[in-house]
């Protein structure tokens, strides 16, 4: 057993209201998700002594804790983009294992869709002028995120012969899962031809290769092993975790076809004492179709360069041999800006057998992988039930 294996468990998960919530602030959504996750666990806000938060506003963790009325003894606002919450699981398990806290809340929400409609959306390509990307990338017209991921997809196609049809397989599979999820945003049928006929955003990525823009958030409660056994729901054990980041600017990515999931995944598998063949279910960050394909390779579910062939024939879809993103993913279920928290929520529900029409049978292990910040960060969490 690795350093953090079964030292802590996820005992409560919840989403806030999702989709389009123009009458709620992100703080209201965080509070809503937190209340629901505490109820799921059978805990109260007074049980929380570890606080984990990531977001885009100034000193957000203190703002959110103040709003919720939490004065944590352990606080972490690690912010590697969309992978933040997978990083948080490792940090929470470590802190719990070290006795620095007992029960941790991981929480987050954004209102990107409402903000866009209200004309108050954040401009992600106007950072501090001191940021190297502002000096060396932005003057050429680079913006985030779509062209960044397009640069990777183009290189993968060149090196390995990956096709737009193969990328579209990923979007189609996500849509099939979403059609089984009552709270998913996009539930209408989608075909490979529909993906290819959708507007070109940044070659080679079409609109339907790209994730949604939504409002919403989620919360995850993690507690120590001893306490987890006495709570309302079956403990979802943290078996292994790993994290890595390799660059910030896409121009500095060591290899445009290799994400840091290669390193975070290795670490998580080593800690869990498991390999890819031991994993029943995958929840992979799908900011874009290419992101999923890269993670399948980097996590060892297929050899590097084989991702395109691997996803053919709807292998990732319901009734496929490799179920991925069983809630519909960022491509069709929800994408609030940092999808990583929803990976954990869906994996926990699948492991507890709560997913009704989209439940995968016999799930004992699940792997969640978050990717953030221009394919720059990766956090891997392997979860399991007894």
């Amino acid at each position: 057993m690795g350093a953090l294996t079964k030292k802590a468990a996820i005992v409560g998960v919840a989403e806030s209201d999702l989709g389009y919530t123009p009458n709620k602030t992100f703080l209201q959504l965080i509070a809503q998700a937190t209340k629901r996750a505490l109820d799921d666990a059978g805990l109260t806000i007074h049980d929380i002594d570890g606080f984990f938060s990531a977001g885009w506003t100034t000193m957000e963790s203190m703002m959110v804790a103040e709003y919720l009325g939490i004065r944590p003894s352990y606080s972490d606002n690690t912010m590697p983009g969309g992978a933040a919450f997978e990083f948080h699981v490792q940090h929470a398990a470590a802190a719990i294992s070290a006795g620095l806290c007992d029960t941790a809340l991981i929480c987050y929400a954004e209102t990107r869709l409402s903000d866009r409609k209200k004309g108050i959306a954040m401009n992600f390509t106007a950072g501090s002028p001191q940021e190297p990307e502002e000096q060396f990338d932005v003057p050429y017209g680079l913006w985030v995120p779509i062209p960044v991921y397009a640069l990777s997809a183009q290189r993968h196609m060149y090196q390995y012969g990956t096709t737009s049809e193969q990328l579209a397989e990923i979007a189609v599979a996500a849509r099939k899962w979403a059609s089984l999820n009552p709270v998913a945003t996009m539930r209408d049928a989608l075909s490979i031809d529909d993906v290819l006929a959708s507007p070109m955003m940044s070659t080679p990525l079409h609109l339907r290769d790209c994730c949604l823009v939504s409002d919403g958030g989620g919360a995850v409660i993690i507690t120590a092993a001893e306490r987890a056994k006495d709570l309302r729901k079956q403990p979802v054990w943290v078996l292994g975790c790993g994290e890595s980041h390799t660059h910030r600017s896409i121009a500095a990515m060591p290899d445009l076809t290799v994400t840091p999931a290669r390193y975070s995944g290795e670490r998580a598998f080593r800690m869990a004492g498991l390999g890819p063949s031991d994993i029943d279910l995958l929840e992979l960050y799908d900011s874009f179709t290419i992101t999923v394909l890269l993670q399948l390779e980097d996590l060892g579910f297929c050899p590097k360069g084989e991702g395109g062939r691997f996803v053919e024939g709807q292998r990732l879809a319901p009734n496929g041999t490799c179920p991925v993103n069983t809630g519909g993913g960022g491509l069709s279920y929800i994408h609030t800006g940092m999808f990583g928290i929803f990976l954990l929520i869906e994996a926990a529900r699948q492991l507890r057998g709560e997913c009704a029409g989209r439940q995968v049978r016999g799930v004992k292990t699940a792997l969640c992988n978050g990717i953030g910040g221009n394919l720059a960060s990766s956090g891997t969490v392997i979860l399991g039930v007894d």
Partner: protein
């Protein structure tokens, strides 16, 4: 050269001034470590390969290949009238990569691996941007 240039311009500071002065003189200057010999980009006061602070400025050959590219059909701020426009990661002969754009050929003719050479676009009196054009291989 225009004086009403509307696109984002780089914030030039002491660490990078030599690079941008080089560009104004139509030279692509890059940094090379005196300790381990590695080149790096973007230019900084230390070598990210070995953390030596003994780094030289050298003139790059200006030749390279397109490592990857994308044709943006949705614009960055300031690029609204350029759509569709390309951005490209160029791998220089010295083995380092930089963000840039390919000029002098239609977007449809850009290929990964195609040989390119640096050209200089004088945007304002202060800022010249290195770009790349195809060369016959």
């Amino acid at each position: 050269m225009t004086t009403d240039y509307k696109k984002p311009l780089p914030y030039i500071h002491d660490e990078t001034r030599t690079y941008w002065e080089g560009a104004k003189n139509h030279e692509l200057l890059i940094r090379k470590c005196r300790a381990c010999g590695a080149y790096h980009y973007y230019p900084r006061d230390l070598c990210p390969s070995c953390f030596s602070f003994d780094v030289d400025w050298v003139r790059a050959s200006g030749r390279g290949i397109v490592y990857s590219f994308t044709v943006c059909h949705r614009p960055a701020r300031g690029f609204e009238e350029d759509v569709p426009y390309n951005i490209a990661i160029i791998e220089l002969e010295e083995g380092i990569r930089m963000m840039s754009t390919v000029v002098g050929c239609p977007n449809a003719d850009i290929r990964i691996g195609m040989p390119v050479e640096v050209v200089f676009d004088d945007l304002t009196v202060d800022v010249t941007l290195p770009k790349f054009r195809p060369v016959d291989s």
